[in-house]
Symmetry: C2
Subunit: 431 residues, 2 copies
Amino acid sequence: MYYQPEIETIKRSELQKLQVERLKRSIDIALHSPFYAKILGEKGITSDSISTVEDIRKLPFTTKADLREYYPFGLVATDMKNVVRLHSSSGTTGNPTVICHSQHDLDQWANRVARCMYMVGIRNTDVFQNTSGYGMFTGGLGFQYGAERLGALTVPAAAGNSLRQVKFITDFGTTAIHAIPSYATRLAEVLFECGIDPRKDTKLKTLIIGAEPHTEEQRKRIEELLGVKAYNSFGMSEMSGPGVAFECTYQNGLHLWEDCFLMEIIDPETLEPVPDGEIGELVLTTLDRDAMPLLRYRTRDLTRIIPGECPCGRTHRRIDRLKGRSDDMFIVKGVNIFPMQIEKILLQFKELGTNYLITIETIGNNDELMIDVELGELFTDDYSQLQQLTKEITHRLKDEILLTPKVKLVDRGSLPQSDGKAVRVKDLRKK
Amino acid sequence: MYYQPEIETIKRSELQKLQVERLKRSIDIALHSPFYAKILGEKGITSDSISTVEDIRKLPFTTKADLREYYPFGLVATDMKNVVRLHSSSGTTGNPTVICHSQHDLDQWANRVARCMYMVGIRNTDVFQNTSGYGMFTGGLGFQYGAERLGALTVPAAAGNSLRQVKFITDFGTTAIHAIPSYATRLAEVLFECGIDPRKDTKLKTLIIGAEPHTEEQRKRIEELLGVKAYNSFGMSEMSGPGVAFECTYQNGLHLWEDCFLMEIIDPETLEPVPDGEIGELVLTTLDRDAMPLLRYRTRDLTRIIPGECPCGRTHRRIDRLKGRSDDMFIVKGVNIFPMQIEKILLQFKELGTNYLITIETIGNNDELMIDVELGELFTDDYSQLQQLTKEITHRLKDEILLTPKVKLVDRGSLPQSDGKAVRVKDLRKK
Ligand SMILES: [Zn+2]
Ligand SMILES: [Zn+2]
């Protein structure tokens, strides 16, 4: 019912036709907002400027700073009486960002979320428990509306109160859960503490995880703990919320719904597109939002397009799980590097701990990349073994970042500890 | 658009026809649930047992204890695949109560809330901020869906964070708010603390207040503080949530939507109906709920039907604001008395404080009702004035409870203080 083969497996050429049509429509609509009237007007851009998908590059970017400057309603492209909901960020620094929705927008959003959930096997016979915060958090109402549309039995548990979550899981026979990865792990702990083995004593089979960066290893661990399949979900409030990109049952990247979003991956320095398969900043244009279209919105999220076709038959391209924020990117010898790339490799070595430090320094006339990483608790101090490990790490890092770093293994506890967000990169170059 | 004169001003005779038809249908549906199959089956009751509205008295009552005993799904009357949402109480003592909804139920619930909001002048040009908790609290999703259906711009602020609520009110031009009375007062305080006079510096004009008992004096004070009209809302999760009864712009009682609920007011002791206008326990039967109809549900809420017609032209009868819980009722000399009746009268005397104590004692062969009440801070100690005041209070109380109590004015601070729920009634009678 929420599988639409004519859209999800559409031929790329047909998809591009649809995208051009919807892009032109979105520009027509956007021109009714003060912000786009100004910035598109200055460049003389109208829907007539677009005849292919690539023509989107004629448009200027939209940034979070623009949303803040035109706070609260300067990007709204319709009469306010057509707006039926807004979602506001918490805005801890400066003005919050506000996204406005028409009834059409909420409908399409719910349809998209229903499509994602259907794709991973959730049906009207499932019991879906949503542990996201409700209210302004788009993960709450977003999944609520989508799951209701699908006809699942929704349990709007909202965030917190793990014992109550556990009671819901067991008493209502919950089969599918939406949670951030760390909370999914926490729930597993509480279940076991209550003497409930989630693999045998519950009906859990599907977990939707999003919002928080996590590795493939973490996913596997959560899947084993809870006895579920865990699927990555990508969304952001600027793009309505959840339902932007989602993994299919092959778990090999997230299909981004290209009938609703036009995707670009750009180099955050040059702002030019990167070749397919390379990491860059995700830029999204809404193709089916009426109250407040966003054109070429710089998400600051880093990802890459996964080349090739997905065995599921869907033609919407897949993005890789997020690689961090573009603000974290640094450039060494002309190569863009993201801390997440390095972290991903280091995490693959069981011999290593979790603490590391990236240093970039000018030595002579060259910029050098150095990576200090702590050893794990029980690893040997046999010199040849350490040397062999160093060599292997260096090799694997070079494969990933196309640059040979100087890797140094250090004792556990010898790198600076930090609470919360660790400072992982020290740039000591002369500017 | 959400004013339906053909329903809201329907002739009473037509309304009763509709009620009979819907009651029969609800019984047919309910018989599919294990609970009603059993308790209706035992009495041989089917929809054929009903030919007039009064025939509802053939049915047994349903209580919260029944919901708990048949937890979680024993009252569900449809295939679980048709259930799209449940709301669960927190269940601090014993099993929670769980209410299940089909898509039809959610639709009708949203329509009802939209009808209430439209009735007090809220339109698609309004900005509606909901300060209710979301998730399992029915005031969150209930008002969210209703207000969206009406086309208002909804601001799903959810509970707490008053400074952020104030920012939303001013930045988004909020015109209508849903809040419990104490939180509305709190918001007014915070607005003034921020240097914002809600009467001049905001667009607030409508307040929806519910869930918490409050007096007419409190309503008036909140209206003056915020510069709004405040309307009483009545709902409970067992009856889906908000949208059961609501005040019209005449603010003279709450129209209970009799196309969706069949109302009885009973004596909680004898379980017989009380005469129109007298206080008793509200008993409700859902007439338009498919997943989980409730028949003759004892709400434990005390109210009365306000006799006469409302100038607004709506024919659905009005209930008075809640008078407390039927569990609080006590009987003296064959008269049912509720503490709220006494409190209401005492609060009308500016000379009095807020602390009082009701004592019932057997003196000789008679039960006597005694009311000790503290004087206010600045009141005189002139004997004749005190005597005059005592006389007047006694007189007004007799009018209300049809019994002459012994009233004693006492010094401020001389009655036992209590944190939270005050113990207001001491029953010292020999049983
Ligand atoms: Zn796929
Ligand atoms: Zn009226």
